[in-house]
Symmetry: C2
């Protein structure tokens, strides 16, 4: 999530921009360096975390213990840049529009290709993203204000602690979408079907009960209004693992740039549990 400066071809509704392999080709060639919102909308997009094997086992346990914010879609073998369970010919070194490279917890560069940075000990984690369930909510006719207003979703650091594993710990980051009560109930039903992309909400109603003092001041993303007849509905957010990594300060780490996700061949509806 978050906006990413860069170039995305115009006309995201066109047929080519809905085909995941074609979009990845544009990304690989360097013709697409911006966020992926709206691209290949029927397909699963993923948050990317790449860590040296020395950190990977702790991070894997962190994800296993915190499946709502960190639902794992794939974990690679060490040094293996391909992700065949997510799509044909996906190469994690070239197929993300923009990366963030971290050393000792500090952001050092934001390249569009990490081929020269690749190492034989790197393990790739792909974590589910709310784009998948938002697509299901929109198809069900539920209004999403941040989508209607062309904003990024509002995200907050809650006081819900994640389960620690090794150096990885920290608060759960949550995304918030305001909904009228009948739509909130329907949204709980729909997102419950998608445990691989954060699943059901973690909270509904009074933000102070999860340590959020002011909804108008999100920690990430953009604020949206909550109307008097709406409830704020909070989902676990894929920014949580990035916050845990920032806290753990591993010697080396690569992530996607916010909003510039890995586009997979999986269909969103393939993730539905029933």
């Amino acid at each position: 999530m978050g906006s990413t400066s860069g170039f995305a071809p115009q006309g995201a509704g066109s047929k080519a921009l809905q085909d995941p392999a074609q979009v990845r080709q544009m990304i690989r060639k360097g013709d697409w360096t911006a966020h992926t919102s709206g691209a290949a909308q029927a397909h699963v997009q993923g948050n990317v975390v790449i860590l040296p094997e020395a950190f990977a086992n702790d991070f894997l346990r962190y994800c296993q213990r915190n499946p709502k914010p960190c639902p794992l879609l794939a974990v690679s073998e060490p040094g293996q840049p391909l992700l065949p369970t997510l799509g044909r010919d996906i190469d994690i070194r070239t197929d993300v529009p923009r990366y963030r490279v971290w050393r000792e917890g500090e952001l050092v560069e934001q390249p569009t290709d990490i081929t020269t940075l690749w190492r034989d000990d790197l393990v790739t984690f792909v974590i589910g993203c709310s784009f998948s369930f938002e697509q299901a909510l929109l198809e069900a006719g539920l209004p999403l204000r941040h989508v209607a207003e062309g904003r990024n979703v509002a995200m907050y650091r809650s006081n819900i602690a994640t389960e620690a594993a090794g150096p990885f710990s920290g608060p759960m980051v949550v995304s918030m979408r305001p909904l009228r009560a009948p739509d909130a109930i329907r949204a709980i039903q729909i997102t419950s079907r998608f445990p691989a992309v954060h699943g059901a909400p973690v909270h509904i109603g009074d933000p102070s009960l999860i340590g959020i003092a002011d909804l108008s001041k999100p920690d990430y993303g953009d604020a949206v209004a909550v109307l008097p007849d709406e409830l704020p509905v909070f989902w676990a957010c894929g920014v949580t693992p990035q916050a845990a990594i920032a806290q753990a300060r591993p010697a080396f780490c690569i992530t996607h740039a916010p909003g510039a996700m890995l586009i997979t061949d999986l269909f969103n509806h393939q993730l539905a549990s029933f």
Copy 2:
């Protein structure tokens, strides 16, 4: 729902009182004339409405148009007192602990047997009851305050209009259970699996949005506290059809007395949709 004066054998936890056929035998003999809460807990209990065929078609359409408050478990042939789809040897003339007989919308008697009132044109409707989903909520470890306090659930006439059919119309009656947000989300998931017993809630949060001015003054049942960290969660209620019948004032009608339900052989878990 509602309390019913009458006699129920002591020791509802005993094996005999958990067997639906044995409980119905006691009811049939007149040894059980009270409410059925806690009896045959694994089994489906139903609201009962018995109407002359002249009203039955309109009432059937009313139920079809309002499946959340009026989920039909069975509809008999005219004049047929047996309900074989609900259980072996069920005779609707004798197997409800206490009945209410209505003429022109007025309650005229509350017998424990309606054999002498039976007519060849009577059609029986059995409508799902929240006892079934409450059992599922309790098994999931969710706290239900009215159960813990030994009270009847709080029920309110909402401003949600039902879809009219013939003379049947009126507001949806809702039951309210206070729950903390994570429990409310879990309760929405669980009750969504049980469309035959009212299904998911119809509202959550601010009561005034569905026309309820004061939660401490229920229209039926008993008030329970809603704590500061809880949300009121509202489900469609099986009292709705009784309110529609009271408004329609049919020449003749028989219902169960509140809380003294028909006990069927169906297991609650048989009603789960997934």
